[in-house]
């Protein structure tokens, strides 16, 4: 096998895993964009999505096409409950307080999973099939290819919605200036709820894709940390930034892992994070505004 072919395969694998990062990063962006809250429990919401799917598809033996939307809805429900029950009550509190609430929320969700499903790692019922995909001579992992397509479609839909849908425009307006949005008759609390529901639903969807690849465990929320790197690099309030930074980080990790060794992957990823915070702390595509906590 030629080195070029190998390089192409490695790069495609990197783009695929980068797409998963982008999808998870999208959950951070959607919530931050509307509410200015950095939800550190995105990783744990992603984990809940995996467990919801497990409970529905394996526990209750529901068909996959029923279990998938229900699991996403379950993620959205978490978002709704958290927003109405906790976050809205914290309006006006300092950002660090809200930030810490989401850290605590993550721990609560992990505890909930350990209490209900136990601590063993588990595998999800397969819904992606196992036939390999070859683009000419180039091999691409089936699950990674499907994840890439799903992430690309979802992100494209969000980009379109933000531009043309009334709810999307309301969300952008709220993100730009809450008072002005109120004065224009926009239901700002409703927009907050919507952002949390969609953000957490997206995270739950990413959790199912991730669970298809690596199984589920109460510790899988750690994936959210990698996605946080992506949003900081791409810009906390930029959907396109999440996409581009996710693919970029995915590529960098694939190349360093292959040509330098797996032990260098995180060194490079977090090296990029530090570099970005030093030279462009609002990210590649984020609004030029620095919020100090």
């Amino acid at each position: 096998m030629s080195d070029l072919l190998f390089f192409i395969e490695v790069s495609l694998a990197g783009l695929g895993s980068g797409a998963l990062l982008s999808l998870t990063a999208l959950a951070f962006v959607l919530i931050y964009k509307a509410t200015r809250v950095i939800n550190l429990a995105v990783g744990e919401t992603l984990m809940m999505g995996g467990y919801f799917f497990f409970a529905l598809a394996a526990g209750m033996s529901l068909p996959v096409w029923v279990a998938i939307p229900l699991a996403i809805a379950g993620g959205g429900l978490i978002g709704a409950i958290v927003e109405r029950g906790i976050i809205r009550r914290m309006l006006g509190e300092s950002p660090i307080s809200v930030f810490m609430v989401t850290v605590g929320l993550g721990s609560v969700l992990v505890g909930l999973v350990e209490f209900i499903w136990g601590t063993d790692p588990r595998s999800l019922p397969d819904f992606m099939g196992s036939a390999p995909i070859f683009l000419g001579e180039v091999y691409v992992s089936r699950k990674i290819a499907i994840s890439f397509v799903v992430a690309a479609v979802v992100i494209a839909i969000f980009l379109i919605l933000f531009r043309y849908w009334r709810g999307g425009v309301a969300l952008r307006a709220t993100a730009t200036d809450q008072a002005a949005a109120y004065s224009c008759g926009i239901n700002v609390p409703g927009v907050f709820s919507l952002a949390w529901i969609i953000g957490c639903g997206t995270a739950a969807g990413a959790g199912m894709l991730l669970g298809q690849i690596g199984g589920i465990a109460p510790t899988m929320g750690a994936f959210g940390l990698s996605a946080l790197v992506v949003v900081i690099v791409g810009g906390l309030d930029s959907v396109a930034g999440a996409l581009i930074a996710g693919l970029f980080i995915g590529l960098v990790e694939a190349w360093t892992g292959t040509y330098l060794g797996g032990e260098y992957k995180l060194v490079f990823t977090f090296g990029i994070l530090i570099l970005m915070l030093m030279i462009r702390p609002y990210g590649l595509f984020g609004t030029t505004e620095i919020e100090r906590l």
Binding site: A58, S130, R142, L210, K265
Partner: protein, 391 residues
């Protein structure tokens, strides 16, 4: 005259003597305590829950038989969340609350290393735990610790001996997580493979918590190994590795070490798990070979018990055996005496928990067996005899 007869006086005197002597008597027969920093939550909770059950069950059996020299043995433990600072805090708390704590179960390599100077200073207890780290297998630097099984380097030696016998000159790829746990046997494996005439054609390292392994599988395809040896993982990302390797038509056989050998974690993986092999120091709950202790376990717990259970069970057995031998020799339960007694264990019958009589010549029990997963039966089946590195 008060009406007190001589007989009454004698009875009073006797009962008073008994009453006053009672505390001394009770002190002689105080419980022996096994302390435990056990991870019941966090990343290692799946093991901690099983380990605690295994220890408790062995102590129940032991206490029903009269304990150790008439003294009951109990487990005093707390959850650590698999955090070293918490493990140390639990150790300090339990040792201050329990006077007769002579045995201890620790939850991690980091804790074993951290607490080692304190164990030496106290000279009051021996310790084993969930760590099979090779560095603990050093009686000089870890004089009061032991491992109730082979260390990770010895596990790899057992795997390599099996491979050398099955396919001399085999090509091997090692896949290790980039963690202390994962990196443990890399150096020793290189040396042992060379001794056995096996060729390590690639060493793949994955970042901790890695999920997608597409690029690593591509490296595996380039290397075309006969055997792929995983270490430093529980389940993920092994199934994805195996799925993609099968998609690519690789013929390599996948093997793992103790913590990825529990059959229940493979049960949901399905057909792709079929044929996964690895080293296992203990028998499985469902093994059908003659094993009275397994029969007893199955009576106590009708449902499957994970491999961590067997590890906890055997650890408690060896610890208490050391205490039993120390007291039988008329010695105090100091760490030095306990460890010396532990090292007198030779050709010891574990009741079938391990399929051959075992010895503890140093800090490990260097015995294991190769098992292979049968996806249809959802069980690990033995594919080798017990391999002892002492021979």
């Amino acid at each position: 005259m008060s009406g007190i007869t001589k007989r009454t006086l004698l009875a009073l005197a006797a009962s008073s003597a008994l009453a006053f002597s009672a505390p001394a008597f009770a002190q002689d027969k105080e419980d022996i305590v096994i302390g435990g920093s056990i991870p019941l939550t966090g990343v290692f909770a799946f093991a901690g829950v099983a380990i605690e059950a295994g220890i408790q069950d062995y102590l129940k059996i032991l206490n029903e038989q009269g304990g150790i020299d008439g003294r009951q043995v109990r487990l005093a433990y707390e959850d650590t969340g698999y955090q070293v600072d918490q493990s140390v805090a639990v150790f300090n708390k339990l040792t201050s609350q329990n006077e007769n704590m002579h045995l201890y179960y620790g939850d991690s390599t980091a804790f074993s290393r951290t607490i080692n100077p304190e164990l030496i200073r106290r000279n009051a207890m021996i310790m084993a735990g969930a760590s099979f780290a090779s560095e603990i297998n050093d009686p000089e630097n870890f004089p009061y610790q032991f491992i109730a099984g082979p260390d990770y380097s010895e596990m790899f030696s057992i795997l390599l001996e099996y491979i050398a016998k099955e396919k001399p000159g085999a090509r091997i790829v090692t896949v290790n997580s980039d963690s202390e746990f994962g990196r443990d046997p890399i150096e020793s494996t290189r040396a042992r493979a060379a001794e056995l005439g096996l060729e390590i054609v690639e060493e793949i390292i994955t970042p901790p918590g890695a999920v997608d392994v597409s690029t690593e599988v591509l490296k595996l395809r380039r290397a075309r190994p006969d055997y792929t040896l995983f270490h430093g993982y529980i389940l993920a990302p092994l199934p994805e590795f195996m799925t993609q390797a099968k998609q690519l038509g690789l013929e390599t056989k996948f093997m793992g070490t103790f913590w990825s050998m529990d059959s229940s974690i493979w049960a949901d993986v399905g057909e792709v798990a079929d044929g996964f092999m690895g080293v296992m120091p203990y028998r499985y709950y469902y093994d059908e070979e003659d094993a009275p202790m397994l029969d007893r376990i199955r009576q106590m717990r009708p449902e499957y018990q994970a491999t961590g259970y067997m590890q906890g069970f055997l650890t408690a057995m060896l610890m208490t055996e050391a205490a039993k031998r120390t007291l039988a020799a008329g010695n105090e339960l100091t760490a030095e005496n306990l460890k010396a007694s532990l090292n007198t264990i030779e050709d010891f019958d574990t009741g079938g928990i391990i399929g051959v009589p075992i010895s503890v010549p140093g800090n490990t029990v260097p015995v294991g067996r190769i098992y292979q997963y049968d996806a249809a039966d959802k069980r690990m089946e033995p594919v080798s005899d017990w391999i002892s590195l002492q021979e």
